[in-house]
């Protein structure tokens, strides 16, 4: 019996899959380092489902969404292109109808989905992991699977619709007003908005003020982040603080330390990261600088809006203005969906899986509850109701050995058919006009301008110029190394990185497009972001002084 496929039916098969498509790209943003088997199973099955669902629901004229495969812990994806011209035209007619709700009632759609998905999370949380029967726990796990599938449907439907509007807005700004998405005026138009992720940061800042008021300043300042919780438990004031903090965690702390993985604790289980952020806010002192920044940005935005609207002929404003409003929602959506969708669902997956993992350990089928991440749902089901009857260790052992192997050999960035090169493959992505390919996966290619004599060339994610010491951060757990005034250098960033943006002067990321996390958050904090430099984390070392000029897309290493 062969039981070792991680994602049955969707394991990468070089012969057949390269016959289907000449190029498969590694999703380096989400699947490096390689996934645990259970997480990979969820992602490959349902992200794939969601992308095809979204593309089909909206009848995107040129693409049927994406296909995914699993290979050694990596997610590989390729476009499913619409083949005939006739079909494209047919789909275009349908698309015009399908996209209308986005134009007419964007907030209604998004708020409706948020409500729906939060309702599902509440229902999942109503199962008590300690007291529930095995049957109920398994039922909770099945519901989690369905929630994950639904989450990806909402995710991709919204993302396709939202980003299409954003791209059109970029095009129209270029055409009617002569500005593109590397222009500071453009960035001003799309910044200065609050969103859920910032609201969470603000709550953390409020807790820093509370800690000061409660006389807990020294405790925070003198403790390392992992010790803060136990130190708080030692005093009455500390316990009261912690109690309220955990209430907040139960509301908004359902997020993962690594966005696309489930083997690290959520904030609810281990509040070390958010308590560390409270500490950072105490050290920094002063007001929540995003408030002032936002005020400034919204004023600048109104000014920039006027500037652009004045260039648009009066009779075109009837549609241009709603388009602008829609594009402005892209940034908010881009941040909020991480919070409400990916992070929260993955936290629910972890919660449900660990509950079963503990039962399996108790029944003797596993050595450690976290070993459940090396099983896939069919194997969980096998032992779900009668865990005492099944020894799952042999499966775990082999998968764990594989997983360790994956961690040591990086997955190739693309798997290509013979005779097909990466440039050709990228050209196919760009030509598809798939909004996710354009705005998230590929991004604009940097222009190398030798006359600027820069060390790295990228694109402008957020305008501005800054100089300071570089801080190269590869994973979230190194974030506490970031210091006030640093310039962050990373492969890419995600919502758990947001709080450090209040401390840094600039950002350089290897990959990203104008709707990637670093660009959106950089704009909100008014700091320069240079993206798509490809080799930043390779060429820059922590501590080196660097200068970034996002307006020109250049990075200079000052002390080589």
């Amino acid at each position: 019996m062969k039981v070792y496929d991680v994602v049955p039916g969707l394991e990468f098969d070089p012969e057949r899959d390269l016959a289907q498509s000449p190029a498969w790209f590694l999703d380096a943003t989400h699947s490096v380092p390689p996934w645990t088997p259970m997480f990979g199973w969820f992602w490959i099955n349902f992200c794939r489902h969601g992308m095809q669902y979204g593309a089909e629901k909206l009848s995107l004229p040129t693409v049927h969404g994406w296909d995914w495969r699993f290979m050694n812990g990596g997610g590989y994806l390729t476009l499913l292109l619409v083949q005939s011209e006739e079909e494209k035209q047919r789909r275009e007619v349908e698309f015009r109808k399908a996209i209308l709700p986005f134009v007419q009632d964007y907030d209604g759609i998004w708020n409706g989905f948020v409500k729906e998905i939060l309702g599902r999370y509440e229902s999942l949380k109503s199962t008590d992991p300690e007291k529930a029967s095995n049957i109920d726990l398994l039922q909770n796990f099945e519901e989690t699977i369905n929630t994950c599938r639904r989450m990806w449907e909402i995710h991709m439907y919204m993302m396709y619709g939202t980003y299409t509007a954003y791209i059109l807005f970029e095009n129209m700004c270029r055409e009617l007003a002569g500005i593109d998405d590397t222009s500071p005026v453009f960035h001003k138009i799309v910044s200065g908005f609050d969103n859920k992720v910032f609201q969470v940061d603000r709550r953390l800042w409020e807790f820093s003020k509370r800690a000061e008021d409660d006389g807990l300043t020294d405790l925070f300042v003198q403790s390392e982040a992992p010790d803060i919780k136990s130190k708080l438990e030692e005093s009455e004031k500390g316990r009261a603080f912690l109690k309220d903090f955990m209430i907040f965690m139960n509301e908004d702390g359902w997020r993962m330390q690594r966005m696309s993985e489930m083997n690290l604790p959520t904030w609810v289980e281990d509040p070390t990261p958010p308590l560390g952020m409270v500490k950072q806010f105490i050290l920094k002192g002063g007001s929540f600088n995003l408030d002032e920044e936002r005020k400034k940005l919204s004023n600048e935005r109104l000014e920039a809006e006027k500037q652009v609207l004045a260039k648009v002929p009066a009779e075109q404003r009837g549609w241009f203005e709603p388009l602008m409003r829609l594009a402005q929602k892209s940034g908010v959506f881009s941040e909020e969906h991480d919070h409400y969708l990916d992070l929260y669902t993955h936290a629910m997956m972890r919660r449900s899986a660990l509950a079963l993992g503990r039962r399996f350990v108790k029944a003797g089928g596993l050595d450690h509850h976290e070993d459940i991440f090396f099983l896939i749902p069919d194997e969980v089901r096998k032992a779900g109701i009668n865990p005492a009857q099944f020894d799952l260790r042999p499966i775990v052992e082999r998968r764990k050995a594989d997983w360790k192997q994956w961690q040591q050999t990086p997955n190739p960035p693309a798997v290509l058919r013979e005779g097909f090169d990466l440039d050709q493959a990228m050209a196919v992505l760009v030509k598809s006009n798939d909004p996710i390919a354009l705005k998230v996966v590929v991004g604009a290619m940097p222009q190398v301008r030798p006359e600027l004599k820069a060390d790295l060339y990228g694109t402008c994610g957020s305008p501005g110029i800054a100089e300071g010491p570089a801080r190269v951060i590869m994973t979230e757990d190194e974030l506490h190394l970031v210091q006030e005034g640093d310039i962050l250098v990373a492969a890419s960033t995600s919502p758990s990185w947001t709080p450090v943006f209040s401390m840094i002067k600039g950002v350089v990321v290897d990959r990203g497009a104008s709707l990637s996390h670093a660009a959106i958050v950089g704009r909100e904090y008014g700091i320069p972001v240079v993206m798509n430099v490809f080799e930043g984390t390779n060429k820059i070392r922590s501590g080196q002084r660097i200068k970034v000029d996002a307006n020109l897309g250049t990075v200079y290493v000052l002390d080589k």
Binding site: L60, K88, I99, V103, L168, E175, P313, R317, W319
Partner: protein, 341 residues
């Protein structure tokens, strides 16, 4: 003898749409309806074609498009093509006999009004609605400047979107059905719009008039809060909301600029009851003629006596109630084009 390519508004009507473009044909039609429009003339689509062929610009564009046909499917290349084509056009001067004829008609216009070097507006007048930017030049003051601005309006037909549209439909790229309107600038005391239907509710029993000091641009663009008069069509009774109008658009040496409204008239109504009733009367007539609610633009001249001071510059069927949906549908259509680039 070369074909006639300049027509006075009073010689035009809506039948001339293809020849002179919608705006000019409309001004002609308004004249036929007895509405006072600013005096002026239309340059026909044939005038444009003649310029393109005699100046050599048409040939340059054809050559450029043939050489670049492959790459013109990319939007960046279309943007570049637009720039190039506008350069080809704007770098040419008008063939001498065309220039002469244009100057002669301009002189006639100056004579008719009795002002040498009369200030005119030069506006594009497309025969088909083409989304995008079409230029308007205000306050053009001599024959050479006029010549130059007419050429620029022709060049403005080459927006990226227009190019993409023509390529997609397999139309010849250098053919643009564009006419030009040349008309006297009114010395605007105040200006605004009148709608013979309430746009928010679709109520056709009342007329809404909006106006501000200075030129009409400030009202049309929606940048200021104008005075608003809602007039009952049957009895003529009206409600008015007089706003503090702090800014207005005025002529400048070249073109226009936004300037401050003198403080003492900011809160004064910009039209008097007599003018209001005259505007409503004409609007109702035009609505009755077309049997369809109208959206019209008026200007009141500072120098002429009532009622000769009221000029009409635009009349078109009013978009109402369904307007929002139309914009949404148009936006949806634009979004679908994102996939075609």
């Amino acid at each position: 003898m070369a074909k006639k390519w300049i027509y006075w508004f009073e010689d035009l009507s809506s039948d001339f749409n293809d020849l002179v473009g919608k705006k000019c044909a409309n001004l002609g039609e308004m004249t036929q309806l007895g509405m006072r429009v600013p005096p002026g003339f239309a340059v026909t689509v044939e005038g444009y074609e003649r310029f393109m062929s005699e100046s050599g610009a048409g040939e340059e564009i054809r050559r450029y498009v043939t050489d670049n046909r492959e790459s013109l499917t990319q939007v960046e290349k279309q943007v570049e093509a637009g720039r190039k084509i506008r350069q080809f056009i704007e770098s040419k001067s008008m063939p001498p006999d065309m220039a002469q004829e244009l100057h002669r008609n301009y002189q006639t216009l100056c004579d008719r009004v009795g002002i040498p070097d009369l200030a005119v507006a030069v506006r594009s007048s497309g025969a088909v609605s083409m989304p995008g930017q079409m230029e308007t030049y205000l306050n053009v003051k001599n024959k050479h400047e006029l010549e130059n601005k007419v050429i620029r309006v022709w060049g403005s037909a080459f927006t990226t979107r227009a190019i993409a549209f023509r390529l997609e439909k397999g139309m010849e790229i250098e053919k643009a059905p564009i006419g030009v309107a040349v008309l006297k600038m009114v010395n605007a005391k105040c200006a605004g719009v009148v709608l013979t239907v309430l746009p928010t509710t679709g109520d056709t029993s009342r007329v809404v008039v909006e106006g501000n000091w200075g030129l009409g641009e400030s009202v049309v663009s929606g940048e200021i809060t104008p005075d608003q008069f809602i007039v009952d069509k049957a009895c003529g009774e009206y409600e008015c909301t007089i706003s503090a109008k702090t800014k207005m658009v005025c002529y400048h040496t070249v073109g226009t600029r936004v300037s401050d409204v003198p403080e003492k008239i900011q809160c004064e109504p910009c039209i008097n009851p007599e003018e209001l009733q005259e505007i409503v009367r004409v609007a109702k007539n035009v609505e009755a003629h077309f049997n369809m609610p109208q959206d019209m633009e008026w200007v009141i001249d500072a120098d002429l006596p009532f009622p000769r001071n009221i000029f009409w510059v635009q009349a078109r069927p009013a978009k109402f109630t369904k307007k929002k949906e139309n914009d949404s549908e148009y936006l949806a259509e634009l979004m679908s084009r994102v996939f075609r680039m």
